[in-house]
């Protein structure tokens, strides 16, 4: 209600001339219009020059620069990512190569060792064969000499026995008979 009254009061005063006094509408006090318009135009012109000459180009360039920086950074990040992928691939390749090389070295060493082993075995086999042959030869020799000794002993013994019995036997017949007996005995 009070607001209504105030509004009525205001409306009434607004119709009165030069409503600058309290209660009227100062907005309709035309005496202040030139002043307001003058200062408004001054303010707007100043503002326009501040903005269009200094502020807007500055902000525009900052925004453009930022966009550029971001684009560049993203591109750089992409490049780095690519490089990282390449490095990883290279690493894996190097690893695989190293594994292959190691496997090859192992294989080669094994083959070499095998070869050496084979040679050594062959050599050892040969030596063993040689020794065996030598031993057999010596055994044969020993056996032969033993048989000979037996024959000699048998002849001598036979002669001695014959001598004891008083028989004078000639060497040739004794030998042949002992040999025959030995052969027969052996047979």
């Amino acid at each position: 209600m009070s607001a209504e009254t105030a509004a009525e009061h205001g409306a009434a005063a607004a119709h009165g001339a030069e409503a600058a006094s309290s209660g009227g509408m100062p907005q309709l006090d035309f005496a202040t219009f030139p002043n307001q318009i003058f200062w408004l135009v001054v303010a707007l012109v100043v503002l326009y020059f501040i903005l269009s000459r200094v502020a807007l180009p500055r902000i525009g360039s900052v925004l453009a620069e930022r966009t550029g920086t971001i684009t560049n950074d993203i591109a750089a990040a992409e490049t780095y990512k690519q490089q990282a992928a390449e490095a990883e691939a290279a690493y894996h390749k190097a690893l695989d190569d190293a594994r292959a090389a190691a496997a090859k070295v192992v294989e080669e060493s094994r083959a070499e060792i095998q070869k050496e082993l084979d040679v050594a075995i062959a050599k050892a086999d040969a030596e063993i064969a040689a020794r065996t042959a030598e031993s057999e030869a010596r055994i044969g020799e020993i056996r032969d000499s033993a048989a000979e000794a037996v024959t000699t002993v048998a002849k001598d013994t036979t002669k001695e026995i014959l001598g004891v019995f008083g028989v004078k036997a000639d060497a040739r017949s004794v030998t042949s008979s002992v040999t025959a007996r030995l052969k027969g005995g052996a047979a």
């Binding site: 009254t5 209660g23 202040t32 903005l51």
Partner: protein, 256 residues
């Protein structure tokens, strides 16, 4: 009736805040007199300069808080002009940005207690609106020549209706600056006046026992109105600017 009851105690001067008076001494308001209107316009300009020149001094790629605000405002209006009026309207971006910033800063600074709001005066908003109207009209004719008149000739309507529509379009075209300016001034004035009316009720507790109920109510009402006014201060600046963009679009592309 209620007013008469405690009329002697409460002082209702809701419109006094809008009086333009000389800042130094008494006397008439001449054209070049420095008035409270001058002061608050200057403060708006100063605040804008602080924000947009001092605030962006660093030209930082990673902005400071103040620079962020300046960039946000720039982006907001730049996008509005581009979206509403088209790419070629960006030539007028500094002008539209000037108008927007002046209105928004005047509105907000005017919300300070004891402040003066230049944009609550029809003299100010009318100059702004007429500026837009003249710009739009001149640009329209400069860009399209007589083709700009096709704005009033609704070629999609049936032929007999077109002259009538043309008349309506012409009237609405010339009413634009009126509504454009009164909308802003009216909104700013009404809100401030209502706050002042509520404020006048606040000391009632000192005069009458009814005041025990009325004073807290009026304080709550002032607070609520103040919140609403903060909203209105921005929205009206936004509306003024977006309408400017819409009018500019008509000037650049008059064909419906």
């Amino acid at each position: 009736m209620a007013a008469e009851e405690h009329g002697e105690g409460l002082a209702f001067h809701p419109m006094d805040q809008f009086i333009v008076r000389p800042l130094f001494g008494e006397g008439d308001v001449g054209v070049f007199t420095i008035t409270n209107a001058t002061l608050w316009m200057a403060l708006s300009v100063l605040a804008i300069a602080l924000l947009f020149i001092v605030g962006t001094r660093g030209r930082a790629i990673i902005p400071t808080r103040v620079q962020s605000i300046a960039e946000l405002a720039y982006g907001f209006i730049h996008k509005m002009v581009e979206d509403v009026a088209g790419k070629e309207a960006l030539t007028f971006f500094p002008y539209i940005f000037t108008v927007f910033l002046f209105i928004v800063f005047s509105n907000f600074l005017g919300l300070l207690p004891m402040a003066f709001t230049p944009t609550s005066h029809i003299a100010v908003t009318a100059v702004l609106a007429i500026g837009v109207f003249l710009t739009v009209t001149i640009v329209g004719f400069a860009k399209n020549g007589a083709g700009f008149l096709s704005l009033f000739w609704v070629s999609s309507a049936p032929l007999p209706l077109r002259p009538i529509l043309a008349l309506i379009e012409i009237i609405s075209y010339f009413v634009r600056p009126v509504s454009h300016s009164i909308r802003l001034a009216g909104n700013m004035m009404a809100g401030h006046a209502v706050i002042k009316v509520f404020a006048a009720f606040a000391p009632l507790v000192l005069i009458s026992t009814i005041g025990i109920a009325v004073t807290p109510l009026s304080i709550v009402a002032i607070t609520a109105m103040y919140g609403l006014e903060i909203l209105v201060a921005f929205i009206q600046a936004y509306v003024f600017t977006i309408l400017t963009c819409v009018y500019l679009k008509d000037a650049l592309h008059p064909h419906h």
